[in-house]
């Protein structure tokens, strides 16, 4: 077969292998998607239906609306509130991470001094510290600082956003650093000669050039912050005023033990916004992840 496979070989020469691969891939793909299918199927059943037949199609898809409304109007767990809080926390965390990390990375790249190297090395080294070492001292420390400044850091949105800036900046600075290194300095020089201040040079010349890597930073941090459980649990508490979606889901599953109709519907509600966002922004998300992974 190798003898006649030259550059101009017609495509059908490789078809049998491709068809086999296609069939295998479809099978694998379905296997990957089954869990999602099972969540949707069983979110449209009553508790009794699930016990008797968890695999069958639901007898009445209208039950899905019943389950969803049961969860959205639940007295013990405020789902709409948790969703809103998650949205606010993720939005502001991403905003401060992108703006402040890019500013910091730019200064670190453009100053080749001892202090900038040491600071950069510290950010990089800190990435190996597991969250488990920090979490309990952090909560105690945030309480002390909050009391001292008389601004509560625990249980508040600004407190957790500040924490996310601290946890998110090392990786983000690292990613921005790698990107800014390859931006020619001449661009900034000519702006300075034209009388542009240093601060303005960054915001009007450098920052717009960062757009592709900003997408990467947003996605890397966004997926993590949206789904994060331990930090919100420790900083916001399991029944504080401010809640996030993962905390709401655990609170719900804890209150309705083994009531799979409700638990699965609650996971469906938790997943849906992310999946819808992914459907629309899939190209950017995949591209951002690929670019972030080579850095």
């Amino acid at each position: 077969m190798n003898d006649n496979r030259q550059a101009g070989t017609p495509r059908f020469a490789v078809k049998p292998g491709i068809v086999l691969l296609d069939i295998m891939t479809i099978f694998l793909f379905v296997l990957f998607m089954i869990p999602f299918g099972m969540v949707v199927l069983n979110s449209a059943k009553t508790s009794r239906e699930i016990i008797f037949n968890a695999i069958a199609l639901p007898s009445d898809w209208g039950q899905l609306a019943v389950n969803v409304s049961l969860i959205l109007n639940n007295p013990t767990v405020d789902y709409p509130g948790a969703f809103l809080d998650s949205l606010v926390i993720t939005f502001f965390s991403l905003l401060v991470i992108v703006v402040f990390s890019s500013m910091c990375a730019w200064v670190l790249v453009r100053n080749k001094k001892i202090w900038s190297t040491v600071l950069f090395m510290m950010f990089v080294a800190a990435m190996v510290i597991p969250f488990q070492v920090l979490m309990y001292p952090l909560v105690r420390w945030m309480r002390v600082v909050g009391d001292f400044l008389n601004v509560p850091l625990l249980g508040t949105v600004p407190g957790i956003v500040f924490a996310y800036l601290g946890f998110g900046s090392p990786l983000s600075i690292f990613v921005f650093h790698g990107f800014i290194k390859n931006i020619p300095y001449e661009l900034e020089e000519s702006a300075t000669i034209d009388g542009c201040s240093r601060g303005r040079t960054f915001f009007s010349i450098v920052f717009p050039l960062l757009q592709p890597i900003i997408v990467t930073v947003l996605i890397l941090n966004g997926i993590w912050i949206w789904n994060d459980y331990l930090l919100p649990l420790l900083v916001l508490g399991s029944n504080g005023i401010v809640q996030t979606i993962p905390i709401a889901v655990t609170a719900f599953a804890g209150a309705y033990l083994k009531q799979w109709d409700l638990i699965l519907t609650s996971t469906l509600i938790a997943m849906l916004p992310v999946i819808i966002l992914y459907l629309f922004a899939q190209r950017y998300i995949i591209k951002g992840m690929v670019e972030g992974s080579i850095k």
Binding site: N2, R5, V14, T25, F29, F32, I34, P35, M38, A54, I55, V96, M103, C104, W106, L108, N111, M122, F123, A126, V128, I129, P130, F131, Q132, V133, L134, Y136, P137, R140, F162, L165, G166, F167, S169, I173, S197, R198, G199, W226, N227, D228, Y229, P246, V249, T250, W260, I263, L264, T267, A270, M271, V274, I275, Y278, Q282, I286, M289, S293, I294
Partner: protein
Amino acid sequence: MKQSRFVNVLFTAPCAIAFTMIIIIPFFFGLYYSMTDWNGVNDKVNFVGLNNFRILLSAPEFLFAFLITIAYTVINIVLVNIVSFSLSLIVTSRLRRRNFYRAGFFVPYLIGGIVLGYIWQFILNNILVEIGKSLSIEVLQTSFLSLPNSVIWTMAAVNTWQYAGYIMLIYVASVQSIPASLMEAANVDGANYFTRVFRILIPMMANAFTISLFLTLTTSFKQFDMNLTLTNGGPATRFFDEPVKASQLLAMNIFNTATANRMAEAQAKAVVLFVALLVVSLIQVAISKKKEVEM
């Protein structure tokens, strides 16, 4: 010049302050607390030296958690990387729907560990058991989560489902950076597909393997969210005649110790986790880098 120094300070300050307050200070407090009698109730803590670490050496549940975390990490590294490397070959092949598959395999990564833990608990405890009963397949009739010997493997499989799509993207980026002419030349020379993969592709992708192994190693070692909602540590088993939890990984053991108000002991365990992670990942990176050179 004066203005530029002002900009340097202003631009690095937000990240540097957050980083110091959230990571550096709690880190050193964490090291200190591991050598105290901190219990989370009394405000005053006393220095007790290495006492907490001495207790750990004779605590069966901790030693067991440590061992199964290592086992879980090893299984995970192998499973995730084999699956994600294979997926990366599929989605860079000539399949017509390759971009669709690539997008699909990544979806589980978007779902947080908390949510997918509940979903898989349902699938393993209800769906699979029901399939086993209706088709009379003996092995499926008891949940894989209820047997001490299979629970770690099951968790690794679930983690692979979540994580493979992400690692796949790292391999995809690496495959795409290899010039197609290289593979074609080998093809013309008569090398079959598997020879090409093992002799050309894998050696050329050594850098991607270093990154992927490091990522799977560190995330498996710190696994918590999915562990909490999938098994919550269960089922019970025995280790040196002491009752222990068969799937309680290190991070969960730390969490449970702190929940029982044994804060200093939890902190000591976290420090052990940190040191172990540091040592293992340094060894891994050193070996991988050496292999990269050899290849």
